[in-house]
Symmetry: C2
């Protein structure tokens, strides 16, 4: 039975190697004053930004530039908005990893407001954003957050009183998601690995989410299918292979679309808590926790009565997909669930995803983290003890 579901808009998607070239003809359709938000390092280091400026310098539109060096904080966004509000910006273009595309999204949404973004963040401020924004084009340079297709921008303030929360509105879905896998070729292995695990986590969590629909299910499976064959390659011998990067970019895009419509689970609940307390890349947190969290989710689902069946079947579907087991025999649910866990364990090892202890998290910190964790749309209820176990196993 298909249950009721809502599916928000998706951006206009322009996908494919070389598609960045389309940007230059698209920009004038929006106006004459463009703000580019880019990353501090990668785009500049790869020479790609020089290439872009050599083209846009000759175009008839004016452009402004903002470089972002880390995950965006309220201060970064507020300062940028104050600076560029007077420039009559008609289009924001964010080119970079998730921090950059989220920063661009947040800036495009805050330019029309005479106010700090903090007031509009879920669980932080008490205002609700009305969706009014400057048009926004998101161009990812990593296959990670899927931010190019989501309706939220994640804003962090790190520290004991820190948070990692979203500015969210359906209308914040970028007007255009331009995905050019050529931009991802220069992404180094460790970042490709962390981002790839983030995207895969999003696909998996959206697929097993009780909020999912047949539409998010099929898109998530499609994304996982392409990532399965290419995640390890993208972080090793296939790093410069455009087919591999294209498949990863596709998986990441699907992860954004599906998470926006089906929600996420405990891994992202933990990532939100840990990310507000420690300066650890989001993808590393997701990547390091995914296998352990999946293990415990499956165990808890197995302990349930028949109500856990659907969730188990969903985990088994992924196990079958990743192990390319097409027989789908009845009674193979547990076997395919085990396969899933084994594959995720293997990926975590082969991709050399660091443990949390590497970033200074200790046993005595776990209590503080757990206090901040929300379960999101996890397919099964977890007790504090379960969440503690996930963390201990990845210290």
């Amino acid at each position: 039975m298909i249950l009721s579901f809502n599916f928000a808009r998706i951006p206009n998607i322009i996908f494919g190697a070389g598609s960045l070239n389309e940007l230059y003809d698209i920009i004038p359709q929006f106006g004459k004053n463009v703000l580019f938000v880019i990353g501090e390092t990668s785009l500049k280091k790869s020479g790609k930004w020089d290439e872009i400026t050599s083209i846009i310098d000759k175009k008839s539109f004016n452009y402004f530039l903002l470089s972002i060096s880390k995950e965006p904080s309220p201060l970064i966004i507020d300062e940028a908005v104050t600076k560029f509000r007077k420039k009559n910006i008609e289009l924001v273009v964010g080119i970079g990893g998730g921090s950059v595309t989220d920063a661009g999204k947040a800036i495009s949404a805050m330019i029309p407001k005479e106010d700090s973004i903090k007031n509009y963040l879920e669980g932080v401020g008490n205002k609700i954003h009305d969706g009014e924004k400057i048009p926004y084009i998101a161009i990812p340079t990593t296959s990670g957050t899927g931010s190019e297709a989501t309706k939220n921008a994640v804003i962090s303030e790190i520290g004991p009183e820190g948070f990692k929360k979203s500015l969210r509105h359906d209308n914040l879905i970028p007007n255009i998601a331009l995905i050019d896998p050529e931009l991802m070729i220069s992404c180094p292995p460790s970042i490709s690995a962390a981002c790839g695990m983030d995207a895969f986590t999003q696909l998996l969590e959206a697929y097993v989410s009780p909020k999912g629909s047949p539409m998010t299910d099929t898109l998530a499976l499609s994304g996982m299918k392409y990532m399965n064959k290419n995640l390890l390659y993208a972080c090793s011998s296939g790093a410069s292979n455009i087919e591999v990067r294209t498949a990863m970019a596709y998986g990441s895009l699907m992860s954004g679309i599906t998470l926006a419509n089906a929600g996420l689970g405990i891994v992202h609940g933990l990532a939100s808590a840990i990310g507000s307390l420690y300066d650890i890349p989001h993808g590393v947190i997701c990547g390091t926790l995914l296998a352990e969290a999946t293990k415990i989710n499956i165990k808890k689902l197995q302990e349930q009565d028949s109500s856990g069946k659907e969730g188990l079947k969903k985990h088994a579907d992924i196990g079958a997909l990743l192990s390319e087991d097409k027989t789908e025999e009845i009674g193979k649910t547990d076997e395919n669930c085990s396969k899933l866990v084994n594959i995720l364990d293997r990926w975590t090892q082969e991709l050399k995803i660091e443990r949390l202890g590497k970033y200074g998290i200790k046993m005595e910190d776990i209590g503080i983290i757990i206090e901040k964790v929300g379960l999101k749309n996890n397919p099964v209820k977890l007790e504090k003890e379960d969440i503690k176990n996930i963390l201990i196993n990845r210290l």
Copy 2:
């Protein structure tokens, strides 16, 4: 290898039994003056329109009503637009089959223009629509055209000089597609059958289209999976079963999304030509031709060298899906293609889809039809002789 692709926006989707109730709270978000475009018969006969009016009469918005009795012509649209342009309409809501939802879409797009729709139809007029429109909510009452998710409205003028052409712009995708399978329960078997075959044709043609992408592929397969189990039931013992109608509505929605992004093939090329010459329901034309056209497409693909392989594999995928063959052994392509044709043949018979001869088309008319046929995104080139054979076999 994933090739480059574009994917247009989709509407905000509100899907599920009973979701019509959400309409009344949505309308005021758009304004105070609403134009309802509904079908002449079904919605009124089922008592559903009385139910709706009893609710909206108590609401604070004003509404106007337009009933549509057949596939929309330029005259119908122009007259409606002239009549309602002065009413300061802020929202159009189309509730009905494909003719009605297309009419609503066309009216919402033409209210801002002081001009006949004929001038903006592809292949008919010489103006290009700029996408400016009154917001539009599409509410289908059949599982057929998928118009609730497409960017075009099909407008017909029947006769020797007739046409069946589209008003098309990305921005004409409805703002909201509200799909309530309860509205489909009263749809009679013959209409459910024709509409169902239309939707299935759209899914199949989009899936085998060379313009497809992994995204349209997976959505099309998902739609076909749900329709496969439910098409025959929806037209017989399962007509009042909400699960069955829900699955059909989902398939139809997927067909709209996929056709908008992957295009269609020879069946719709023929339906466009035949529909401009004869007053035959669109779904009947598609339904009666699908099996024959698929047969000839497969034969032509088999006659090709390795370039036909991909197209054959795609047809085989559908054969495997419909026959629930999950083994996918190498070398089963031809076998699964045959299965596909057999199943489509069986559906055509069981659903009692009429032959074209029943509507007065004779052997001597075939030449005129063929002159008007475009191949659209058919997976293989067809000669006039091939197209002739499709028609002869369904006279």
